[in-house]
Symmetry: C2
Subunit: 277 residues, 2 copies
């Protein structure tokens, strides 16, 4: 499906995984606004500096990025699409070095974590956490820093004139990240939607969550995910975030009617077409 | 309860929130091993460099730190105690500066996030993510760097010769982090336990989770938390992590018997006394 030509806020610079989603799924003319933090990504949209924001929300190994759900809830934005990106971590450094020359690797905590097996086998490499994946690669090139490596997706080494020392150092090849495209809420309902992300607080009665899941199951819905998330103003009380798949939007509407009756707060964070067939 | 004199791995340096838990709850003679990453905290224990590890697992605003559950599951360690620390973020910098002099603040993503309201009101301050909270404070002191601030808990400014520019800049005063003490598994069962953290994979039948929650409710148990977490080797299949409170350990044993029958994999991540009364 061709995408309209938007200006989109992303986390990270050119060469980051967010940027790879733009390269893979959006038109070549798409403009990006590179943001240092997920908070900036969200508030660039809130403050109308962009028409949409792209944000990683979940990884198939590390799980949900809960702080990003918090941002999404608080900013009252809507998930309008989702994209799955296969994550490959290539160990990259200045040209003409071998793995033995590398003494340090600088990357994001999640990237380092996803390559745990590889680094366990190469204990001479010291792991240094950074807040970004592509930025350490860019700085290695800029400062011509030897013995230091970064972990970047396919296509990024070339962007900075670096060399791939070892491709695909991730623990498993089934490592995908799910990204969501955020927009401001509109009145229009996506009639093709077959997935929803919901956020709700339950009335405090024992067994309430069990009853709700039973209802979903009776409606033939597939609960693909559930997270409890704290309620900021009620310490150690939890709200829930669920992803549900359904066949037709009328089933979603039935569920919303049930939720309206059994929950304190109900907020649809997105009604969209699944990125999976 | 006085703690035995252990060597404990913590994330962060002296002055960090982990270190504050040690100062508040453990004996003065307790030795710490400061680790740069949570991964190091866990593997210091796995590799017998320490007798226990202290790890943040959840915050009352930001929610669960899911990657830390992943580490805990993979390393096969046990939660033996939990501690709640009230989180105060003091904005600290070199002495004799006012808020107007501060142009940048460097801290961990979660700390910056928890002070979002304050920084929205002071847009002249640029937020820079770091992998640590106490380390930027230490470096400000070491490099005598003006115009730069850090966010640290009570008692840390004094440690580094910095001054509190503005105390308690967090959004809400009900901001607590839950820390868990990890040890290697033993055969001994804590008979005072009234809380368990469980990890299980459900057999894939619609409505299974609903049935399980109904069982917990019938056993009079209080489900305090539920998280779905990916199964690393089965892409986009989910396991669940739950915290349950119970009155007597025999109820926990009943639940385990039910889980043994209805789950594929069941792992007790901890059986311990709640840090709450």
């Amino acid at each position: 499906m061709p995408m309209q030509n938007l200006k989109i806020a992303i986390q990270g610079i050119e060469g980051s995984n967010h940027h790879k989603v733009i390269r893979d799924y959006f038109e070549a003319e798409t403009q990006i606004k590179a943001c240092a933090t997920f908070r900036e990504v969200v508030y660039a949209l809130v403050n109308n500096q962009v028409e949409a924001s792209l944000m990683a929300i979940e990884n198939s190994i590390a799980g949900s990025i809960l702080p990003n759900y918090r941002l999404l809830i608080d900013a009252n934005l809507q998930i309008t699409q989702e994209f799955y990106l296969n994550i490959s971590h290539n160990l990259v450094a200045l040209p003409n070095q071998s793995l033995n020359d590398i003494t340090q690797v600088k990357s994001h905590q999640m990237a380092l974590h996803q390559c745990g097996n590889f680094f366990s086998k190469h204990p001479h490499i010291k792991l240094i956490e950074d807040v970004d994946t592509a930025l350490p690669a860019k700085l290695i090139a800029k400062n011509q820093q030897k013995n230091l490596a970064a972990l970047v997706p396919n296509g990024t080494a070339e962007l900075f004139g670096l060399e791939v020392i070892q491709p695909n150092v991730q623990d498993t090849n089934t490592n995908e990240t799910r990204f969501v495209l955020l927009k401001k809420p509109t009145q229009t309902e996506n009639q093709d939607a077959n997935k929803a992300t919901l956020h709700f607080e339950l009335k405090h009665e024992q067994g309430n969550l069990a009853n709700l899941l039973t209802t979903m199951s009776e409606l033939g819905m597939n609960l693909t995910k559930i997270q409890s998330i704290p309620i900021a103003h009620k310490q150690w009380n939890y709200a829930f975030i669920v992803d549900v798949r359904f066949k037709h939007i009328r089933d979603y509407k039935k569920l919303i009617r049930v939720l309206n009756a059994s929950t304190e707060v109900i907020q649809t964070l997105g009604l969209y077409k699944s990125g999976r067939t």
